[in-house]
Structure formats: C-alpha cells, structure tokens
C-alpha cells in the first residue's frame, strides 16, 4: 500500500511541484496518472521510490516512512519497487539477458559483482522473466538491435526479475507507435492481474489510460483534481484536468 499524506514537494529553485497530495493506493491496483506536461506526474511517481525527496508531509510505502530512509535503506526500498522509463534506459551494447541480469546485481557477493558472473539460478530467473514478456527468443540479441516495443519488454522483464510489489512506469509508451503502445499496456495489465503487482503509470495518451487502467488520478499544477474509477471519467472531468488544453496536449505530443 502506498499512502501520501499532505505531501508537498518544493524544488531547490522554489518551484512547488506537488501541493498537499493525499492519495492511497492499495496493493494490486492499476492506476494511471494523467495531466498536462509539467503538472507534476513524474515528480509524484519518483517520490514513491525516493528518486525525489518530499519536502513536507508523510509518504508510506508498505508501512515504511519513505522520507526517513537513509543510504542502504533507500536502496532496499528500491529493490522492492520496479521502475520503467520512457527511453527504456537499457545498456545498448549488451544482450537482453545481460540487461535483465543486472537487476540481481545489488544482492550479489562482491567478487561476483566485480567479475559479472551470475549463478545458474539467476540466469533461469532472468530467462523466465523474458519468457513472461514473450521475448525469450531475443535473449542473446543485443538490445540496440531490437525494436522499441521489444526494448520496453526487456525493460519490463528486468523489472519483473526484481520481483517488485510495485511497478512505477514513467511515460512507458510515449516513444512507441500506437499498436506497440497498446501491446505494452496489455503487458502491464497482465502483470497487474497475474502477479497482483501494483502498477502506477504516468501517461499522455488519455484513451489508453481510460482503456487499460482501473483507476485514474488527474493532476493539475501539482494538485490532484480527480481520483476515481476510469469508467466514471467524463469529458467534463478531462477538460478540468487538462485545463481545456486536452486537444493541444494531444497534438503537441
């Protein structure tokens, strides 16, 4: 469970990115966060795994107060939370399998870390993760030779191998074509249902958000202006979230 209580986030330059956020997300939910660019979607997501610090308020992730963690405690928190990025963030020059195996690195003994030697068990788990994403046949292919959709699947497999309870996805489909985007959204749906992982997605494509997510959180200038089931989102609500700029936002991206 993730619980934001009166969370405020102020950047060093004085810009207030999140204002008085109150939000509770239960284990196993599929939440899409929508809003204009710069509304604070990305900041909201990155507070959950402490990629950003919150300024005031309280943020509990699985009953742990995130803002109080230090050093290795932060890294332990992150071990349990997967993160997916718009630009996939894979190491281009190595194979899919090796990219997935990286998710085991923090738990390995030092000598294995230095030499980059993985155990057979780890290889099996990594291959299983790739299999789950239906790209087992690409295990030994270098990532830079895969298509965007395949790369995002490798990134997803890397996250699955981490066995997180929560997956944060920051614009995971923004650099994919519409058909691949749908496939990746379906992948998230499957992971969410089969493995009961919480999935929180920042997304620009409102239609995809409404089609796949069960819950929508609308953010406008750092404030939550809508929080409810995807089925109840109306045009008026979207207009409110996007400040009347929905068309502009969609064509602009």
């Amino acid at each position: 469970m993730i619980k934001f209580q009166n969370v405020q986030k102020k950047y060093d330059n004085g810009y207030v990115a999140l204002k008085d956020i109150n939000l509770t997300i239960d284990q196993g939910e599929y939440v899409a966060v929508i809003g204009l660019s710069g509304a604070g979607k990305s900041t909201l997501l990155r507070c959950v795994n402490r990629m950003h610090d919150i300024s005031t308020g309280s943020l509990l992730v699985n009953d742990v107060e995130v803002s109080k963690l230090k050093g290795s405690e932060i890294r332990n928190l992150r071990r349990g939370i997967g993160m997916i990025f718009q630009s996939f963030n894979l190491v281009n020059r190595i194979s899919s399998l090796k990219n997935v195996l990286v998710s085991f690195v923090p738990d390995m003994p030092m000598w294995r870390k230095v030499l980059g030697l993985y155990t057979k068990q780890q290889k099996i788990e990594a291959l299983e993760a790739l299999d789950r994403m239906n790209i087992l046949d690409k295990a030994f292919i270098r990532v830079d030779q895969l298509s965007g959709g395949q790369q995002q699947r490798v990134a997803l497999a890397r996250t699955l191998a981490q066995k997180p309870s929560i997956i944060l996805a920051d614009e995971p489909v923004a650099s994919l074509d519409p058909i691949t985007a749908k496939q990746v959204m379906t992948d998230f749906q499957r992971i969410n249902k089969e493995m009961n992982m919480t999935v929180i997605i920042n997304i620009h494509h409102v239609d995809l958000a409404l089609e796949y997510a069960t819950r929508i959180v609308g953010i406008r200038s750092g404030e939550i202006v809508y929080d409810g089931p995807a089925s109840e989102v109306t045009d008026e609500i979207l207009d409110h979230i996007y400040n009347g700029k929905l068309e502009e936002e969609l064509t602009g991206n």
């Binding site: 057979k120 299983e128 299999d131």
Partner: protein, 269 residues
C-alpha cells in the same frame, strides 16, 4: 564458473534455452600469450625502465626553456614544411578524384580497371610516407621536392580510398535518371554524384592536409626538406634547447592549422 560448462538451461516450464559458450576466456588467454611473447621479443624490462627513465626527464628538462634565439632560423624551414604539405595535399586531392572515379564499382563498368585501381590505391596507402620520401630523395635529390612527392602519393591513396567508398555509398537514383535523359556516364557522374560527395571530399582533403603537416615535419629526417632537417640536426648534436624550440613552434603551428581545418570542415558539412 558454470559459464564455461553449461550448454543449455531448462526453464521450470520445460523450455530449453541453448547457451553459447562465452569466448571471452579464450580471447583473454590469447591476448596474454601474445603479451608474453611480445615482452620476450622486444626485451621489455620494467627494471631498466624504472632505473633509466630519469634520462627521459633529463632530456625534457634540457628542452626547457627552449632556445628562443634559434627561432629566427626556423621560419623558413617551417614554411617549407607547410608548403610541402600544402602542395602535396592539393595535388594529391585533385588526382584522387579521377582515381576514385575509376575505382568505384558502381560507376566503373570494367571490373578489371576497378580492381586494379583499388589495388594501386591500397598499395600506396601501405607504403610508409617516410619510406616513400626516402625513395624520392634518391630520384629527386635531397630537398623539399622529395617530401612533396611523398605527401602527394599518400594523399592520393588516403583521399582516394575515402572518396571511392563515398561514391559507392552515394544515392544512385539521380545518376540513373540522368543517364536515362541521355547523359554520358561521366556527365551523369558530374551532375548527380559530385554534388553528393563534394562536401565530404573537401573535408577529407583538408583533414588529410592537417595530418600531412605532422608527417612533413619528420620527413626532413631522411633529407626530404623542411623543419625535420633541423630537428634531425639538433637531435644529432644533442642540442635539446633547440629541439625544444622546434617542437614548441611545431606544436603551435599544428594547433593553429588543426583549429583552422576544424573550422573549415564544420562550415562544409
């Protein structure tokens, strides 16, 4: 080290994934063997190095401060060096164009001419410039002419190779269109391919000139004129303050030429 032994892994769901054996250990082993034998052959000895490396710093120390009085005598040879490289690069680049034309497999119709031209270009490229310069001094006598010839030959080979690779990668659609309009092969080349390769050709020529200045500086060592002659002389007399002055002047000249060439090439591309 199950990486070496495991050939395939069976997943719990029954799928079998074949593993390629990693070649890395073999490559490392081969490199180590090469390293060992190279040390044997060259007589590489860390002890001598650590004991005697002081000599190197002594020489460097003798170069500083450089002998500024020597500067007056250096301008003429420096300009000779630059002239040698300029003329050699200019003529070499011009002559590279027809050679590249004949060496391009997509333009040339005669396979024999294409192969022969390519072969000549690669032979020229492998001939060390210094050796070419030395041979040239036997034919043209001691002096800048020998250096110019050596640079000319190298430039043809270098620019020519890059140029025919470019021509072979050029877009042939316009070329075919022009041929269909009744242009000859040559005139279609002139109007369809040349505009595509021109910026790169000029850029490569300028880059080659830049490198040639460095080469020209040492050609004097074999008597092929320029500042290298004085460098050789000063080194022979162990007059390191003079050597320092030459190297400093050379560094400044190369620096200026490098920056000018980089500026020109940026404008071209």
């Amino acid at each position: 080290m199950n990486m070496l032994k495991a050939k395939s892994i069976t997943l719990p769901n029954g799928k079998i994934v074949p593993f390629k054996r990693s070649k890395a250990p073999w490559i490392i082993l081969a490199l180590l063997i090469c390293f060992y034998y190279s040390v044997q052959i060259t007589g590489f000895d860390l002890q001598i190095l650590t004991k005697r490396i002081g000599q190197f710093w002594v020489i460097i120390g003798d170069m500083i401060p450089p002998n500024w009085n020597y500067l007056n005598k250096l301008w003429q040879p420096l300009f000779d060096t630059i002239k040698m490289s300029l003329l050699g690069s200019l003529l070499g680049s011009v002559f590279a164009l027809p050679l590249a034309y004949f060496a391009s497999s997509n333009i040339g119709k005669n396979q024999f001419v294409v192969t022969a031209t390519k072969f000549i270009l690669s032979l020229l490229r492998t001939l060390p410039t210094l050796v070419a310069a030395l041979i040239a001094t036997f034919i043209f006598g001691i002096g800048t002419m020998a250096g110019t010839v050596a640079i000319f030959l190298f430039t043809i080979a270098y620019v020519g190779k890059l140029l025919y690779e470019q021509i072979e990668n050029a877009d042939l659609k316009a070329f075919e269109a022009m041929q269909s309009m009744g242009h000859s092969t040559f005139s279609a080349f002139r109007y369809a391919i040349m505009p595509q390769i021109m910026p790169n050709y000029l850029s490569n020529s300028i880059f080659c000139f830049e490198g040639n200045v460095r080469y020209a500086a040492i050609l004097g060592y074999v008597g092929a004129g320029g500042i290298g002659l004085l460098l050789n002389e000063s080194l022979g007399w162990r007059n390191y303050a003079n050597v320092g002055m030459i190297l400093l002047l050379l560094a400044v000249a190369v620096f200026i030429i490098e920056n000018a060439s980089e500026y020109l090439r940026k404008k071209l591309l």
